[in-house]
Assembly symmetry: D2
Homo-oligomer: 138 residues x 4
C-alpha cells in the first residue's frame, strides 16, 4: 500500500498569486519521505548517526496540475519505484481528498531520485545494508 | 546571450546537512526568471495589472549535481528554449563562478515549463501579444 | 486551557548550524494560531470571505532559549492575553515534550500582536463582532 | 554610517494576503547582518572555521508597520546598539526608498540580540577577540 502523510496549507506555504508557491511542493514531498522512513523506524538524525550518511536529491521531475490553496488538507504519497545500490527513486503525489469524491484530484506529482552520500564528505556511496533492509521491507 | 543573475547563499537557504536545501534551487530559478523579465521591462505586478495574468509552473525537471554552501556567490541563468501560444519553456542553471576556473561548475540545472493563466480564475490562457513580444525580443 | 498544536521538524526547517532557523519559529507560531482559530470554527479562507478581513502581525517579542533539532516533535501553544477592538495579543511557546519530564523545556517563546485589516485595502479596522465572539468564547 | 543592504521581493517572499509573509522580514534582517559582517571581512563559514563559533539569535522585538509587496526594491539596515562580552544587539529597519521621498517609509523595524555560541556544543561563550575587533572597528 502506498504511504500517505497529511499536509495542511498555512499562510507560509502560499504566495501573492493566492496559491501554494511551486517550490513548496518539494517540501511536502520531503515531509512524506521523511515520515515514510520514520514509519519504518528510521529517523533522519538516526540515519546520520548510525548509518553515517544521508539521502540527497539528485534529480526530480515534477508536474503541477492544480493549485493548492490556504486551509487545504492534503495527502502526500511516497512509493519506491526503483532501488539501486547507491540510489532510490520515489514516486510522489499531492492529493486533495474530499468527502464527495472517490478519486481525489492530483494537485502535483513527481518522481524524486535520491542518492546516498557520506554525512561528512557528501560524496556518493553505497546505501548501507541496514538502510537497504528498511527500504525493501514489505 | 544567456541571462544571468547573482544569488548569494544565506543561512535561510541551508539545511542541517550543511548545504542548500533542495527545494530552494527552484526559488533561485524563479528569481532569475523574474529578473530576466524585469530586464526586458516586465515586472510581476505589471504583468498582472496590464496583461491580466501570470505565469505558473506546470512542469519541471531538475538535476542537483553539486551542493551549494553558505556564503557561496552563485550565478543563475535563464534561457527560453521553447515558446508556445500558452506556455514557455526555460532552461536554467545554477553556477559557482570562481576566479581560477574558466568553466564554472554547474551545481544544479533544470528545465521549467510555465503556463500562462488568468490572474483571477487561474485557468490556462493564450499568452497576451504584449507579453509574447517581450519574450521574443532579441 | 492553553491551546496546543504539534509541529514536527523537517530538513526544510533547519539550517547549516544544525538547528531550526530562527525565523521559522514564527511560522510555527502562526500554524498554532491558525489551528486555534480553526478549532473554534474559523478557517483563514472563511475569515476573508465572511468577515472581509484578516489578521496581520503588527509587533512581536521573541526569545529563543534552546535550539530545536531535526526530527523533534514539538508542541506550540497559543493563548490570548489581550483583546482590543482592533487587535489581539497572543502569547506563544514552543515546547519539546518528553516522556521523562513533567515540565517540557521551552525552546522559544513570544508575544505576537495581531491587528485586523480589511482584506482589500489592508487598512486597520475594528474586529468584526462575529470574529470577536469566536475569540472570546470560553 | 548605518550599513544598508538591498533586498528585492520575489514570489517566494509573499503570501496569499498579497504581501510579504511576516517571518520573512527576519530573513531580510539576517541577510543585512551577514553582509554587514562580510563588508568587514567576516564570512559566515570563516567565522565557524577560524573563530570556532557562530552568532545565534537570543531575542528580538519586531514591528511591522507597512506591508512590502512583490517587486519592491527595499533597503535593510543593520547597526550595533550594544556590544557585550557574549552578545551583540543590532537595530534593523526595512525601508522602501523612492525617488520622490527624502525619508523612505519604514516597513518593518526590529532589534535583534545575538549570542555567541560554540559551533559544536551550541553553548554560549565569550565573543572571540578577533570577532570583537571587527564588530568595534569604526
Amino acid at each position: 500500500m502506498t504511504f500517505q502523510w497529511p499536509v495542511r496549507i498555512y499562510w507560509e506555504d502560499t504566495d501573492a498569486g493566492g496559491v501554494v508557491y511551486y517550490a513548496n511542493y518539494l517540501k511536502f514531498f520531503e515531509r512524506a519521505r521523511t515520515e515514510w522512513l520514520r514509519s519504518r523506524g528510521l529517523g533522519q538524525q538516526a540515519l546520520q548517526a548510525t548509518a553515517g550518511g544521508m539521502f540527497v536529491a539528485s534529480s526530480a521531475q515534477v508536474r503541477w496540475l492544480q493549485p493548492a490553496m490556504l486551509d487545504d488538507a492534503l495527502q502526500v504519497t511516497a512509493q519506491v519505484t526503483h532501488l539501486g545500490r547507491a540510489s532510490v527513486t520515489i514516486e510522489q503525489q499531492v492529493l486533495r481528498p474530499s468527502a464527495s469524491q472517490t478519486a481525489p484530484p492530483i494537485l502535483c506529482e513527481g518522481t524524486v531520485r535520491l542518492g546516498w552520500v557520506h554525512a561528512s564528505t557528501l560524496r556518493p556511496a553505497r546505501i548501507p545494508d541496514t538502510v537497504l533492509a528498511v527500504l525493501t521491507a514489505p
